[in-house]
Symmetry: C2
Subunit: 239 residues, 2 copies
C-alpha cells in the first residue's frame, strides 16, 4: 500500500487545480490503484497545507473527470482510466513541440474524414456559412486576429457540415487547442504564413465539399493540412 507522498503546495494561483493535478497524477501513475481509498479530506488538507474547502473542490473536479468516486460517510475511491467520463488536455503540455505534433497528427485524419463526410451530407446553408466565413478571411494582406478566428470558424463549419455531432465536438476541441498553441507561439516568433496560399486552400476545400465529391474534398483538406504543417515547420507521418 504505497502511501502516496504528497508535497506541500506553494501558493500562487488556483490551489484546487494544483491539488487536483497532484492527486490525479498519483492515480494515473498508479500509486493509488483503482479501487483504493484516498486519504480523508481532513488528512489531505493537512498534508497539502490547504483548507478542506480546497481539497473538496479538487476532489469534486476529479469526480467530474471520472477519476474518483465518493461515497458519503465512507470516503473517496479511485476509479480506473477506462471509466473516464471526459477528455482533458492541459494547455501547458502543448508548449513542447513533440506534444503539439502529436495533436496535429491526431487532427489530420479527423479533418480529412470530416471533409469527405461534409461533401456527402452538407446542406445549402452549410455552404453559405462557409462562403460567409471565407469572405471574412480574405481582404487582409497579413494575418489579422479576425482572420485567425475566421480560419478556426471555417474548420468548425466543415465539421458541422458532416451532420455528425461528435465530429463537431472532437474536431472543435482539437482545432481550438491547436490554434491556442499557435497563437501562443506567434507571440514570441512571428510566423511567416502566406495569406494568399492559405485562403486559396480554404477555397479549394469549400469548392470540393460543394461539388459533393468526397475524395476530392479529402484531398483538398489533406493538402491544406500538410501545407499548414510544413509552414510551421512540423513534420508529420503521411500516407
Amino acid at each position: 500500500m504505497g502511501v502516496a507522498d504528497f508535497n506541500q503546495i506553494r501558493r500562487g494561483e488556483h490551489l484546487p487545480e494544483r491539488v487536483a493535478t497532484q492527486i490525479g497524477k498519483e492515480i494515473s501513475e498508479g500509486r493509488i490503484a483503482p479501487g483504493d481509498k484516498l486519504p480523508t479530506e481532513h488528512l489531505l488538507s493537512k498534508t497539502f497545507g490547504v483548507s478542506r474547502s480546497v481539497v473538496r473542490e479538487a476532489i469534486a473536479q476529479l469526480r467530474n473527470e471520472g477519476l474518483v468516486e465518493t461515497r458519503q460517510g465512507v470516503g473517496a475511491f479511485a476509479t480506473d482510466m477506462e471509466r473516464r467520463q471526459s477528455i482533458r488536455i492541459e494547455q501547458d503540455n502543448l508548449s513542447d513541440r513533440v506534444s503539439f505534433g502529436s495533436l496535429f497528427q491526431l487532427r489530420l485524419p479527423l479533418e480529412i474524414e470530416a471533409a469527405g463526410l461534409a461533401a456527402i451530407h452538407h446542406t445549402p446553408e452549410d455552404i453559405a456559412r462557409l462562403d460567409e466565413t471565407l469572405g471574412r478571411m480574405s481582404g487582409a494582406e497579413r494575418w489579422t486576429n479576425e482572420g485567425i478566428i475566421a480560419d478556426l470558424a471555417f474548420h468548425r463549419q466543415v465539421a458541422a457540415a458532416t451532420q455528425n455531432e461528435y465530429f463537431l465536438m472532437f474536431l472543435g476541441f482539437v482545432a481550438e487547442r491547436i490554434h491556442l498553441a499557435i497563437n501562443a507561439a506567434r507571440e514570441t516568433a512571428v510566423l511567416e504564413e502566406i495569406v494568399e496560399i492559405t485562403i486559396a486552400e480554404h477555397v479549394a476545400i469549400r469548392d470540393a465539399i460543394a461539388s459533393g465529391d468526397p475524395s476530392r474534398a479529402r484531398s483538398a483538406m489533406r493538402d491544406h493540412l500538410v501545407g499548414a504543417a510544413a509552414r510551421i515547420d512540423l513534420s508529420l507521418d503521411i500516407f
Copy 2:
C-alpha cells in the same frame, strides 16, 4: 438582460451537481449569453437557498467543463461552447441508433490512422502485448466477458503503439463508449457475432502492424471495423 429565473432547490442528493445543472442550463439555452456575468455567489446562494460552498462547488464544476470563467475580484462569466476544456458524452445519448452510428463513424478514421501509425512506430514490446491479448481472446467458442475485455484492450494497445498520447486518449475514450453501448444492447438482444471471424481480423491487424507496412495495417483495420459494423447492422459512409 433576461434575469434567469432560478428555482429553489429541494434537498435530496448532491446539491452542487443540481445547482450546476440549473446554471448550466441557463447558459446552454442562451438565457445567460456568452460573456455575460453570472450573479454573484452570495446572490446565487440566496436564490437557490443553499450555502455559498455549494454554489462555489457548482461553479467550479462549470469552470472545469469550460462553460464559465471566473476572475477573482470581478465575477464569473459565461463562455461559449467552442472554448470547452473537456469533452463529455452522456451515455444516455448513445442509446439511440443515430447517435451511436455517428460515434462509430468518428471512430473509423481514428482507428485506421492509429493502425498505420502503429505499423511505423511500434516497439517489440507493443507486439508482445498484442500477442498476449490475442491469446486471451481466442479459445472461446462464444463471446465471453473476458473476450470482450480483451477486444477492448487490443484496440487500446494499438493506440498505445502509435506512441502518440492523444491517439490513446481519444481512441480509448471513444472505443470505451462504444463498447459500453454494445454491452448495454447485448443485454436485451443477443447479437450473433462470429467469434472466429473477429479473431481472424484481429490477427490480421496484428500481423500487418508487425510487418511495418502502414497501408496494409490501415486496410486490415478498415476491414475489421467495416465488418464489425456490418455484424451489428450498422451502415457507415465508407470511402
